[in-house]
């Protein structure tokens, strides 16, 4: 059969351009919304995902990384007793106040005390070794460049955290977190800022294992409670990251608001797609009626309509992918918290495809009732 659907789309591209743009717009809405959700709530678990620790040990019931409490200083021994564990590292979390030289007010900050060893696990995926070494200077801190204005400081400048003098020795993009400003410093500086002694336990202990399978096995062994080491809970890195993200997404007002907004975005996208596709299909009503008058079955008409919808959806999705990618690149360049994974990208494409399919099925159902007698004047 003559490729009527495709030829019509190509020849009358101006008529169908609004539909393609609408589908593309819906796709961009979905992609950007998904990227923002992943980026914003992904940053809540930045401490875990930017680190290479396979296991995290912290206070039982900790809902999110930022809610950690001190655990026993003997826990490293407990971890090293497991044959799968190859390295153990402390991590200190301190809620503190930042006061700058040229600012009257204070800023709430999250201080992360990390190891300054070259092979340290904390922030190993984000922090270059050379920059990490600068933290060996007492009072040295690293901040995100996007937070310099908030902190009213520049690189090399001085400030106070909990009245403890610090100096900004460098900046690291990608440190921006959810809910507050992140500051990196050494374990010793963090302990001083937090008023902790040498014998006080860390907020978390990270453990490295040989591989993921070993990590899971070690997790299963270590999660059995041992009262000799005080209260603690063990998570795999992935589980702890998901736990943190889930808390912010589902258990906070901000998360629920974002989820609600995502639903609205999907609904708006569906409405825009449905309306424009429906209008385009309806504008071809006479052509479908002519095909039916010629003797083509309604099943054939449906195939023509769905083929057109598939082409429109395909071009719209490509447009959405290109425009969405460009937008995300621009957002990333301006330190907007966006993140995307291939799976989420494919899911967005799938949602748009489903929207197009449902819209076209809905629109074609209306066309099935068309009487070819409408062609008679």
């Amino acid at each position: 059969m003559i490729a009527l659907a495709r030829k019509t789309l190509v020849y009358e591209w101006r008529r169908f351009l609004p539909v393609v743009v609408s589908i593309g717009f819906s796709g961009v809405l979905l992609l950007v919304q998904a990227a923002l959700v992943l980026g914003i709530f992904g940053s809540a678990s930045l401490y875990v995902t930017a680190s290479s620790g396979d296991l995290w040990v912290g206070y039982p019931g900790t809902q999110s990384v930022n809610f950690g409490r001190a655990v026993s200083p003997d826990l490293p021994m407990r971890l090293r007793m497991d044959p799968a564990v190859t390295a153990v590292e402390p991590y200190l979390w301190v809620d503190a106040d930042w006061a700058a030289e040229r600012s009257a007010g204070n800023v709430s900050v999250y201080v992360s005390g990390i190891s300054t060893q070259r092979d340290a696990m904390m922030f190993s995926r984000l922090l270059p070794a050379a920059l990490r070494e600068r933290l060996r200077e007492p009072g040295a801190v690293i901040v995100d460049p996007a937070d310099l204005d908030t902190l009213a400081v520049e690189t090399g400048g001085r400030a106070w955290i909990n009245a403890h003098p610090v100096r900004v020795v460098g900046t690291l993009a990608g440190l921006r977190g959810l809910g507050g400003v992140n500051i990196l410093t050494s374990l010793d500086t963090a302990a001083a800022i937090g008023g902790r002694g040498v014998d006080d336990g860390a907020t978390y202990y990270l453990a490295r294992t040989a591989d993921a399978a070993a990590a899971q096995a070690a997790h299963d062994r270590l999660r059995r409670p041992d009262s000799r080491f005080g209260p603690y809970e063990v998570w795999t890195a992935q589980a702890f990251a998901e736990r943190t993200q889930r808390y912010w997404l589902v258990d906070t007002g901000a998360g629920v608001a974002v989820l609600f907004m995502s639903i609205i975005v999907c609904a708006v996208g569906a409405l825009i797609t449905g309306q424009s596709l429906g209008a385009a299909i309806a504008s071809s009503a006479r052509e479908y009626a002519t095909l039916n008058a010629m003797g083509l079955s309604r099943g054939t008409m449906v195939r023509v309509v769905l083929e057109q919808a598939a082409w429109l959806g395909g071009v719209g999705v490509v447009l959405a992918a290109l425009a969405g990618t460009a937008l995300l690149v621009v957002a990333h360049a301006h330190q907007v918290p966006v993140a995307m994974t291939p799976l989420v990208g494919l899911a967005c494409v799938g949602v748009v495809a489903v929207l197009v399919l449902l819209s076209s099925v809905s629109a074609v159902r209306r066309q099935l009732d068309i009487e070819p007698a409408m062609l008679l004047r």
Partner: protein
């Protein structure tokens, strides 16, 4: 010009032969809100093959509805329609679609060509719907277009054709199917005098030379003069049924002098064609 031939069965010619369409007590009404309008009131009519039958009447008299019922585009509320041996009034929608595909062709006032298809593709589409392969459909499509004098416009799309040329492509689309029944709804209303005359001649030829049953709805006085039979309607009923020309003999209607007819019509097509400038092609960016 390709030789023409009759597509009808040998015994289906006019002048005593069986009618191809027989309608008995046809009724049809439409509801608009709470109001019900009777468009056809127990209309009975028989239509013979090999001649141009015209249904005329004022606007709203029910002639288009009668055409819709006789062609199987719609089902009647009451009465029966038997066309080519099939009782259309008892067929399901799908069965009527199959009947139209196999037996009928349509020519509409607004041409109803597909904007994206060339003249050749317009006709090929109709043939491919019938399961004819691409090569054969291309051959038959070209043949049909040449028969209506559009052999030099095969690659042009409707936007590049005049009204008369579009209608000729629509007729070629109908012709290529070799239909036993051809239904035309106001085929000349949107055309100028010269183009209209070409269309009338083509419809007449399809009836006479190919033996098809050609049923037209029109109030064009030019068609009135050329019809073999005129059925007048008013207010959903038949008012008059008069024959303007004696029905041709079965032999004359089937394959009589096909080359002569073809030559004559071809000459008529050429003579009737005005020298009009080609429609400027619309360029796509």
């Amino acid at each position: 010009m390709p030789a023409t031939h009759s597509w009808t069965t040998p015994d289906a010619g006019p002048h005593g032969a069986l009618p191809t369409i027989e309608a008995r007590a046809l009724s049809k009404s439409f509801s608009t809100g709470a109001q019900r309008v009777d468009v056809l009131r127990e209309v009975s009519v028989s239509v013979l093959p090999g001649e141009l039958t015209l249904v005329a009447g004022p606007s709203g008299c029910g002639k288009s509805t009668l055409l819709a019922l006789l062609s199987g585009l719609q089902a009647p509320d009451g009465g029966s329609v038997v066309a080519c041996g099939e009782d259309l009034s008892t067929l399901s929608r799908r069965e009527r679609e199959r009947f139209r595909l196999k037996t009928s062709a349509f020519v509409f006032q607004n041409f109803n060509l597909f904007p994206a298809l060339t003249s050749l593709e317009q006709v090929q589409l109709a043939l491919s719907c019938m399961g004819i392969d691409r090569a054969e459909s291309a051959r038959r499509a070209q043949e049909a277009l040449e028969e209506v004098g559009m052999g030099h416009r095969l690659r042009m799309r409707p936007a590049e054709l005049s009204g008369g040329e579009k209608q000729r492509v629509a007729i070629a689309r109908a012709l290529a199917k070799q239909p036993r029944l051809l239904f035309a709804d106001e085929p000349t209303s949107a055309l100028d005098a010269a183009s209209g005359q070409v269309v009338i001649d083509l419809l007449h030829r399809i009836a006479r030379a190919h033996g098809s049953t050609v049923l037209c709805v029109s109030h064009d006085p030019r068609l009135l003069r050329h019809a073999d039979r005129v059925i007048e309607m008013e207010d959903g009923s038949l008012l008059a049924d008069r024959r303007l020309t004696p029905p041709p003999s079965p032999a004359a209607s089937a394959c009589a002098h096909p080359s002569a007819v073809s030559t004559a019509v071809s000459a008529a097509v050429s003579a009737a064609l005005p020298v009009t400038p080609a429609t400027p092609a619309i360029s796509n960016p």
